[in-house]
């Protein structure tokens, strides 16, 4: 419309008197992020420095690329199948727009990134799911990329590290999404049959079809503190059984108590723990 083009700008001089910028404005100010667990407001830069962990230990969500930065040795990551993109196979209403907006906001083409890298000097194949792309939901492309990664690792006898965060199967792709559960599980099995190591790190939230397939098939299952790990969400269960669920229901800590996971690892410890595990499981031929 260009309504502003109709108006002229007055050239009044700035009124005199009083202060300009408030007295304490010389300091560097920046945005703070409030912790949903304890309410403490951490400056954004401090939060990034602290790997998006509040001083109370609450882990904020983290993008896949940010995880790459602290989990892998600098400059060793090579991305695989980075150009694969989902299509609206079923003609699901609004899906193409959703995909487009997710690509723009997350700057990723899909909800998982795959590749090879070194962690503490040990070569491995890895996949990291992206929470900012449709909450890491698993459609055909996510399933295909993860399957290909396991096949690639099996062929080259590489261990696999997987970092999961997912709302489950992608409903916009219907049964095709559900099929990925079987497909990825098959690839994990063949990788395992070759005696190769698969470490999985569950982060908040890992749910639905992802939990029901490759997320829980690791040889060693690690989790982030406070991560929700479940198949069906707590609200649905509560509505179905009409009972109040116990505190910490579906939390990583409860899962650890019941033997579903092996270890809870705070973010700052993850690189050290994973590199140690990879080192201990290094195959003889790969060591030379």
């Amino acid at each position: 419309m260009g309504l502003e083009l109709f108006f002229r700008k007055p050239k009044n001089e700035l009124e005199k008197g009083g202060r300009g910028r408030p007295r304490n404005a010389e300091m560097e100010y920046e945005l703070t992020v409030a912790c949903p667990a304890c309410g403490y407001e951490t400056p954004q830069s401090a939060l990034i420095e602290n790997l998006h962990v509040c001083r109370c230990g609450h882990c904020f969500r983290m993008s896949a690329r940010e995880r790459l930065m602290y989990l892998t040795d600098r400059g060793t990551f090579t991305e695989l199948w980075g150009d694969m993109e989902s299509e609206d196979i079923l003609g699901f209403p609004g899906y193409p727009d959703k995909l487009e907006s997710m690509r723009i906001t997350s700057r990723e083409k899909e909800a998982v990134i795959c590749g090879t890298a070194r962690i503490g000097g040990c070569a491995c194949a890895l996949f990291i799911m992206e929470p900012y792309f449709m909450m890491g939901s698993m459609g055909t492309v996510v399933g295909e990329k993860i399957t290909r990664l396991f096949e690639y690792a099996t062929e080259r006898e590489l261990p696999v590290l997987g970092v999961t965060v997912s709302g489950g199967a992608r409903m916009q792709e219907g049964t095709l999404s559900l099929m990925q559960m079987a497909k990825t599980s098959g690839a994990v099995k063949r990788h395992s049959d070759r005696g190769l190591l698969y470490i999985v790190l569950l982060t908040d939230p890992t749910t639905g079809g992802v939990t029901a397939s490759f997320a829980m098939q690791g040889d060693i299952i690690l989790a982030e503190p406070g991560a929700t790990v479940c198949f069906t969400g707590a609200r649905i269960i509560e509505q179905t059984v009409r009972k109040k669920l116990p505190p910490n229901f579906q939390k990583a800590e409860t899962m650890l108590q019941h033997g579903f996971i092996d270890m809870i690892v705070p973010r700052a410890e993850q690189w050290r723990v994973i590199s140690k595990l990879l080192m201990m499981h290094r195959r003889k031929e790969a060591q030379g």
């Binding site: 309504l3 408030p22 404005a25 945005l31």
Partner: protein, 433 residues
């Protein structure tokens, strides 16, 4: 003086603030939702930032986005206008934290006045008459006992209250139990605080408020009263100053009480102390609004003081250039709020003119009125030597105002102005009862 101000509002009040800034040589930053992309306030500002979707919660109520916009554009101060974040203590504190001046009182004063129970107690201590009532009540039985002492009818009010939520009128002991619980539940849902207290019901009464300006040097002055008794569903429709019910003697008492209230709260910048005035001339403190009022225009007309400019100057540390004795009340001013009765697009707009006729509005021919916000389309304000002349001027101006394409209340306003009770100045909050 600030060289750049961000206006954290929309509609006519955003324009009112931008106009003041233009006169003062201050650059302006408008923020807007996606629904307000083609708004007049965006077009008039020097810069604009889109801060989110059409719902207020996605844009004008999102403190983080507004602070971000101010930091990006390097605005030195934020004017919150009225509504939205204007009385949000957390937002005021957030501005300070980020080195941005909040144009209004400090966060602690906003928080004090937002807690109706604390505010009542502070006013009582300062010797300002408050409506007879209780502190926070623990149970319906306690409320019953207190109501017997006060005498029915009573009103149950929420401590965290505002906007008519958590308020119940109780006329007999039988109704107390249920009213207590519903009011408490409603308050819990609306404000996250179920605490309620009792007040004697003063009805019918007049709603009279006093405009205050206070600077850093401790100079607190009053710009006299405004009469706001013409209300429908707790929404003011017509305001005037001076109030036809206030004699010079009563005015002196009101001013004294309002200034005392502001001083007791350690008030800085512009604010309004609301009183209920009963038929015997007794008045009681109701609440203090820690922001610019919609109806500030009538006060500007009769005192010749630009309240918005003074808000900005006080925030920048400029002392007031007047003492109470220098402020004169000149003539009579009336404001009619022109509200939308639905959404639409303005196909033809004619704004009345002539001496001492003012129309504060964000309308332009071709603009759309979106459904997401307040219904206020504009404020028609007139000023004349006498009340009678002001009513005549308003009648003429209303008849000349045309807003085609959007359902509005111009005809209702003409009816109010023609009502014999209004003409005589003999009306109170039961006007529409």
């Amino acid at each position: 003086m600030f060289s750049k101000i961000l206006v954290a509002n929309r509609g006519e009040v955003a324009i009112r603030i931008i106009r003041a800034c233009k006169e003062m040589g201050i650059s302006t930053v408008a923020v807007h939702s996606t629904a307000d992309r083609e708004s007049l306030h965006v077009a008039l500002a020097d810069e604009s930032v889109c801060i989110g979707g059409p719902l207020p919660s996605e844009s004008y109520l999102d403190a983080g986005r507004i602070i971000s916009a101010a930091l990006i554009t390097k605005a030195e101060a934020i004017h919150p206008g009225y509504g939205f974040l204007a009385e949000n203590a957390r937002f005021a504190a957030l501005c300070k934290k980020h080195g941005i001046e909040f144009i209004g009182p400090g966060a602690d004063v906003i928080a004090l006045m937002g807690d109706k129970d604390l505010a009542r107690r502070a006013m009582k201590k300062a010797g300002v008459p408050v409506i007879p009532g209780t502190g926070v009540l623990g149970s319906a039985d306690e409320a019953k006992k207190a109501a017997e002492e006060l005498g029915y009818p009573v009103v149950i009010k929420a401590r965290g209250g505002g906007g008519g939520k958590g308020i119940r009128v109780v006329s007999s002991p039988d109704a107390m139990e249920q009213a207590f619980h519903t009011a408490s539940r409603e308050a819990q849902e609306a404000f996250g605080d179920g605490a309620v207290y009792l007040e004697k019901r003063i009805y019918p009464a007049r709603h009279v408020e006093v405009q205050i300006l206070a600077d850093e040097t401790g100079n607190t002055v009053s710009l006299f009263e405004r009469e706001c008794s013409i209300q429908k569903n707790n929404q003011k429709l017509v305001e005037e100053t001076p109030s036809p019910a206030v004699s010079p003697r009563l005015r002196a008492k009101l001013i004294d009480a309002a200034v005392r209230a502001a001083r007791a709260a350690g008030y800085l910048n512009a604010g309004t102390v609301e009183f209920l005035l009963d038929k015997d001339g007794n008045f009681y403190f109701m609440e203090m609004n820690t922001r610019l009022q919609v109806e500030h225009g009538v006060t500007e007309q009769v005192t010749g003081m630009d309240i918005v400019k003074w808000q900005i100057r006080i925030a920048a540390g400029v002392p007031l250039d007047v003492k109470q004795k220098d402020i004169r009340l000149d003539g009579h001013s009336i404001e009619c709020r022109i509200n939308a009765g639905g959404v639409g697009k303005v196909s033809f707009l004619h704004v009345p003119g002539g001496p001492r006729v003012r129309f504060d509005s964000a309308l332009w021919t071709g603009c759309a009125v979106p459904p997401f916000y307040d219904a206020l389309l504009g404020k028609l304000i007139v000023h004349a030597a006498t009340r009678e002349e002001a009513i005549r001027k308003m009648q003429a101006a209303l008849c000349e105002l045309v807003i085609d394409g959007v359902p509005n209340n111009i005809d209702d306003q003409i009816a109010i102005l023609s009502d014999p009770r209004f003409k005589k100045g003999d009306y109170d909050t039961s006007f529409f009862a």
